[in-house]
C-alpha cells in the first residue's frame, strides 16, 4: 500500500491503533497470566449462565424504562423551547451520569430508603414507600436515575433535525398531536434511538457498584461483579480476562442485533429549523402534559441530588473546605479529566474523519455505523481489566510509580470515547457532504481544514460530550481505586478514604464538593464550547 492509498485514513488508523493497543494489549496482558483450567471452569459453570441471564435481564429492563420515559420528557422539552430555567434544567440533566456511582447511590437511598425523605413525608399520613428498595427495584430505580436524563439529552437534538417546512406542511394538513408524533417526530427520533438504546444498554449491562449496593444479595450479580471478584478475591486474572471477553462478545452481538433490528429512518434534509413552527405548541392539553412531564422528571432527578446537598451542608463544611489536601486532590482530578477528555477527543476526531473519508471518497457507506459501533463497544470493556492490563504493562517497563495518574486518565479516555464519537461523527460527515468539494478547490486540508471548517461545526454538538467526558473522568472512582494513589490521591479516592475511616460526615461534605465541581466543570465546558463566536 503506498502513501497515497492511505491518504485521509491515517488519523483513524492512529486512533484505532491506540485503542487496540489499550484494549487488546491490556486484555492480553491480563490473559497471559491465566491458568487454562480456571478458564474452562468459568465457561462451564452453571452459575456463570445465571449471572449472564441476570445481567441481560436487568440491563434490558433498565434500558426499556429509561428510554421509554425519556421520549415524552424530551418531547416536552422540545415542544417548549422557551421557559424560565429551561437551560439550567437541561444542563443539570447531564449531572447524574457523571456523579460517582456510590455518591449517587447514597442520594437515592436518602430519598427512597427506609429512613429516606419519601418515607418521612408518607409516614405522618400512615403510609410507607410501597416498594422494597433493595433488589431489582433498587437497581432499576438507580439505572433510571442515571440514564433517563442522559437519554433525554441525547434524544433532544433529534427534534432540531425537523425542518420548518415539515412542521408547516403538517400544520396545513391539520395533523393532531398524535399524528405529528407518528409522522413527523418519530422518523427524526428513530434516527437517534438505536444509538441511545445501545449506550444506555451497555451502561446498565456493565453496571457494578449499583448492583452490588442496591441489589440486595448475591442473586443480583452482573458479569462486571464477577470480573471484580475474579481479579480482586480469586487472584485469577485468566478468569477475569475470559469473563471480560465474554462480556465484550455478548455486548457486540446484542449491539449489532439492536442496530439491525431498529431500522433507522432518514429524516428529510433541509436547512431552516424552528421548533416554534410546530402546529401543536399552543394546545392546552399539550401544555399541561409537558409541564407534568418536566416537573416529574425534574423531581425524580433532582431530589436525590438535593438530598446529597443537604447532607453535605449538615457536615463539617468549613474544616473540609479549608483542608489544602482537598484542593490538591481536586487539581489532580482536574488534570485527569483534561487529559482523558483530550486524548478521547483526539481519538474520536481521528476515527470520525477517517470514517468520513471512507464514506465520501471511497464510498464505504457502512463506515459511519461501524465507527459508532466500535466506539460504543468500548463501554463493554471492563475498566478494571484495562486498568489491570495497563498496570501489568507499566510494571514490565518499570514505570508504575510515575504514570499512575496517566494510566487512570487513559482508562477514562476509553470510557468516555463513545459519547464523543457519537456526537462528533454525524456532524463531521454532514460537514464533509457540504464542504468536501469546497475544501478540495481551496486546497484546505489537515490542520487548516480542522481549524476553519470542522471545528466550528463540531464544537456545539461536541460540547455536551466533552463536558460529559470531563466531568465523568473528574468524578471517576472505579478506576482510580485500582491503582496506588498514595501521596497523590484524587478527589473521589479522598472521599472513599474518609468513608473507610468512619468519617462519613466529612465524606458527605467531600461528596458535595465533588458534585459541585462536577457541575461547574460540566457547565463551563458545555457553555463555553457551545457558545458560537459569531
Amino acid at each position: 500500500m503506498n502513501t497515497r492509498s492511505l491518504r485521509g485514513l491515517w488519523p483513524g488508523l492512529i486512533a484505532a491503533l491506540l485503542l487496540t493497543v489499550l484494549i487488546a494489549g491490556s486484555l492480553a496482558a491480563v490473559g497471559v497470566a491465566s491458568r487454562p483450567l480456571s478458564v474452562a471452569l468459568t465457561l462451564f459453570d452453571p452459575y456463570f449462565f445465571e449471572v449472564i441471564r441476570f445481567t441481560v435481564w436487568q440491563a434490558a429492563l433498565s434500558t426499556l424504562i429509561s428510554v421509554a420515559l425519556a421520549i415524552p420528557v424530551a418531547r416536552a422539552y422540545a415542544r417548549r423551547p422557551v421557559f424560565a430555567g429551561r437551560t439550567i434544567l437541561i444542563t443539570l440533566m447531564g449531572l447524574p451520569v457523571v456523579m460517582p456511582v456510590i455518591v449517587a447511590v447514597f442520594g437515592i437511598v436518602a430519598v427512597y430508603g427506609r429512613a429516606g425523605l419519601l418515607n418521612a413525608v408518607l409516614q405522618p399520613a400512615g403510609l410507607a414507600v410501597p416498594f422494597e428498595l433493595y433488589g431489582l427495584t433498587g437497581i432499576l430505580l438507580a439505572h433510571t436515575f442515571f440514564n433517563l436524563p442522559l437519554a433525554v439529552r441525547l434524544l433532544l437534538p433529534a427534534w432540531e433535525q425537523i425542518t420548518t417546512e415539515n412542521w408547516r406542511t403538517a400544520g396545513t394538513l391539520g395533523m393532531s398531536s398524535k399524528q405529528l408524533f407518528r409522522f413527523v417526530e418519530w422518523p427524526a427520533i428513530s434516527a437517534f434511538l438505536p444509538g441511545v438504546i445501545v449506550i444506555v444498554f451497555l451502561l446498565c449491562f456493565t453496571s457494578f457498584a449499583v448492583v452490588l449496593t442496591l441489589g440486595g444479595g448475591p442473586s443480583a450479580t452482573t458479569i462486571e461483579v464477577a470480573i471484580y471478584q475474579a481479579l480482586r478475591f480469586e487472584f485469577d486474572p485468566g478468569q477475569a480476562a475470559v469473563l471480560a471477553l465474554a462480556q465484550l462478545l455478548l455486548c457486540t452481538c446484542i449491539a449489532v442485533l439492536l442496530i439491525r433490528w431498529l431500522r433507522v429512518l432518514t429524516p428529510t434534509p433541509g436547512r431552516k429549523r424552528d421548533p416554534r413552527a410546530r402546529p401543536d405548541a399552543p394546545m392546552r392539553l399539550g401544555k399541561i402534559l409537558d409541564s407534568v412531564a418536566i416537573i416529574l422528571c425534574s423531581l425524580f432527578v433532582f431530589a436525590p441530588i438535593a438530598a446529597l446537598v443537604s447532607a453535605g451542608l449538615r457536615g463539617p463544611v468549613v474544616s473540609v473546605i479549608l483542608d489544602a489536601g482537598l484542593w490538591q486532590a481536586a487539581a489532580r482530578s482536574l488534570g485527569i479529566a483534561v487529559t482523558a477528555t483530550s486524548v478521547s477527543a483526539a481519538m474520536a476526531f481521528g476515527l470520525a474523519t477517517t470514517a468520513r473519508s471512507l464514506m465520501l471518497e471511497r464510498k464505504q457507506h457502512r463506515a459511519k455505523e461501524l465507527t459508532l459501533l466500535i466506539g460504543s463497544l468500548t463501554l463493554a470493556v471492563p475498566p478494571m481489566v484495562i486498568g489491570t492490563g495497563l498496570f501489568l504493562i507499566a510494571l514490565r517497563i518499570s514505570l508504575v510509580g510515575s504514570v499512575t495518574l496517566l494510566m487512570i486518565a487513559l482508562v477514562n479516555a476509553v470510557m468516555v470515547l463513545p459519547y464523543l464519537l457519537r456526537s462528533i461523527t454525524p456532524v463531521l460527515i454532514s460537514s464533509g457532504q457540504q464542504y468536501q468539494k469546497l475544501c478540495a478547490q481551496l486546497g484546505l486540508a489537515g490542520w487548516q481544514r480542522f481549524r476553519r471548517i470542522d471545528w466550528p461545526m463540531i464544537r456545539r454538538p461536541a460540547a455536551f460530550a466533552l463536558a460529559l467526558g470531563g466531568a465523568l473522568s473528574f468524578g471517576d472512582m472505579g478506576v482510580a481505586a485500582l491503582f496506588d494513589t498514595t501521596g497523590h490521591i484524587t478527589l473521589p479516592v479522598m472521599l472513599y478514604h474518609r468513608m473507610s475511616a468512619y468519617r462519613f460526615d466529612e465524606a458527605a461534605v467531600t461528596a458535595l464538593v465533588l458534585v459541585l465541581m462536577c457541575v461547574t466543570l460540566f457547565w463551563i465546558l458545555d457553555r463555553s464550547l457551545s457558545r458560537c463566536p459569531s
Binding site: A115, F233, R332
Partner: protein, 336 residues
C-alpha cells in the same frame, strides 16, 4: 474558548498528572499496605516520621484498596515487586500469601514480646487485631440479639446489612463465623437469616454508610466500632451486640519480602511495628486492638464489656483450602 487555549489546557493537564521519580540519597524502604492505613486518617502518617527519625531512611508507603487487593497486587507483581514489606493481610489471607513463595521468615527474636493474642508464625508478625461483630443503633434497637444463634433463628429479629464474602474481608469473616458455629448446617442458617438481610454490599464502607443513614438497625462491622463513635463523636448511640458463642477474630499481619534489597531495614520496621510507640497509635487511628500488651491502658472509649468472652477462628490453611467451597454454599443458600 479558542483553540490555542484548548491546547494549552491539554498540556497543563498532562503535565500535572505525571510525577517523575526523584533520586534519593538515603536508603528507601517500601511498604505495601491497604489504603485506609496510609490515608490522612489512618496510622500511616503518624508512623512514617517516627520510623524515619530512627532509621535515617526514607519510608515509602504504597496503599492499595484493601487487604484482598494487597495480596492480588503482590501476586500480580511477583518477584518484580518493589515492596520490601507487606502490611495489612489478615488471617484468612496469610496461607495464600505464603503459597506465593515471595515472603521470607521475619527472623526476629520475639521471645520478650508480650502478645495480647496467641501467635506463633515464623513469617508473619501480628500488629493489631479485632473481632467481627454486629453494631446496632441503640435508638432504633433496644433488645439486640445476644447470640449468633438468636440472630439467625429469630424470625422477628432485626434487619441487618452485611458485606459480600466474595469482595470484602468482614463479609468473609461472617461467613467463617457462621461456618464455625453452624458447621454443615451453614446453608440452613443462611436461608433462615436471608429474609432479614436488607442488602449485601461490596465493602465495609458502603454497608456502614447505609447503616448510619438508618437503612437497617444493625450492620456487620467490628467490636471496636463503637469506640470510634465514643472517642471522636462523643456519642454512646452505637453499640455492639456481644454474642454468647464468641466472636470471629481477625488478626492483621505484616511480613517481609524475600527479594527485598533492604532486609535489615525491613526487619527493623517489623520490630518497630511491635514497639509501644506504634502499638499505642493503632487503637485510635486504625480502630483495632494492639497486638502487644503495652504499659499503657487503652483509651477509655474501648470498653472491657466489648471484648468477646470467647475467640473464634479457623486455621489459615483450612480457610485457604475451603474458602471457595464455602462461598459456593453461601451463594446457593442466598440465591434460592
Amino acid at each position: 474558548m479558542t483553540f490555542s487555549r484548548l491546547l494549552a489546557a491539554l498540556g497543563a493537564g498532562l503535565l500535572s498528572i505525571i510525577n517523575l521519580p526523584v533520586g534519593a540519597a538515603t536508603p528507601a524502604l517500601t511498604v505495601y499496605t491497604y489504603a485506609s492505613f496510609v490515608s490522612d486518617w489512618g496510622p500511616g502518617p503518624l508512623i512514617e516520621p517516627a520510623f524515619e527519625a530512627r532509621c535515617g531512611c526514607d519510608l515509602k508507603f504504597v496503599g492499595v484498596e484493601d487487604g484482598a487487593a494487597l495480596l492480588g497486587r503482590l501476586k500480580l507483581e511477583g518477584s518484580r515487586s518493589s515492596a520490601d514489606v507487606i502490611l495489612g493481610l489478615d488471617t484468612s489471607l496469610v496461607a495464600e500469601a505464603q503459597q506465593t513463595g515471595l515472603l521470607e521468615p521475619h527472623d526476629l527474636d520475639l521471645g520478650a514480646v508480650e502478645f495480647a493474642l496467641s501467635w506463633s508464625d515464623p513469617v508473619f508478625i501480628p500488629y493489631d487485631f479485632g473481632y467481627f461483630g454486629f453494631v446496632y443503633d441503640s435508638e432504633s434497637l433496644q433488645n439486640p440479639p445476644t447470640s449468633l444463634w438468636e440472630l439467625v433463628n429469630d424470625t422477628q429479629g432485626p434487619k441487618i446489612i452485611i458485606q459480600d464474602p466474595r469482595t470484602s474481608t468482614p463479609g468473609l469473616g461472617l461467613l467463617l463465623w457462621v461456618r464455625k458455629i453452624f458447621g454443615d448446617d451453614d446453608t440452613k442458617a443462611w436461608t433462615s437469616l436471608s429474609p432479614r438481610i436488607v442488602t449485601v454490599t461490596k465493602g465495609w464502607s458502603e454497608a456502614y454508610g447505609l447503616f448510619l443513614e438508618g437503612e437497617a438497625p444493625m450492620v456487620l462491622s467490628y467490636t471496636t466500632s463503637p469506640a470510634y463513635h465514643r472517642h471522636v463523636e462523643k456519642t454512646d448511640r452505637y453499640r455492639v451486640a456481644m454474642f454468647e458463642e464468641g466472636h470471629y477474630q481477625q488478626v492483621e499481619v505484616a511480613a517481609r519480602l524475600a527479594h527485598s534489597a533492604q532486609p535489615e531495614l525491613a526487619k527493623d520496621f517489623l520490630r518497630f511495628l511491635l514497639s509501644d510507640e506504634v502499638q499505642t497509635i493503632l487503637p485510635t487511628s486504625n480502630w483495632m486492638l494492639p497486638a502487644v500488651r503495652t504499659g499503657e491502658a487503652l483509651p477509655k472509649a474501648f470498653r472491657d464489656d466489648e471484648l468477646p468472652r470467647k475467640t473464634l477462628g479457623f486455621e489459615p490453611a483450612e480457610v485457604s483450602a475451603e474458602r471457595k467451597r464455602w462461598i459456593k454454599r453461601w451463594l446457593t443458600a442466598l440465591v434460592q
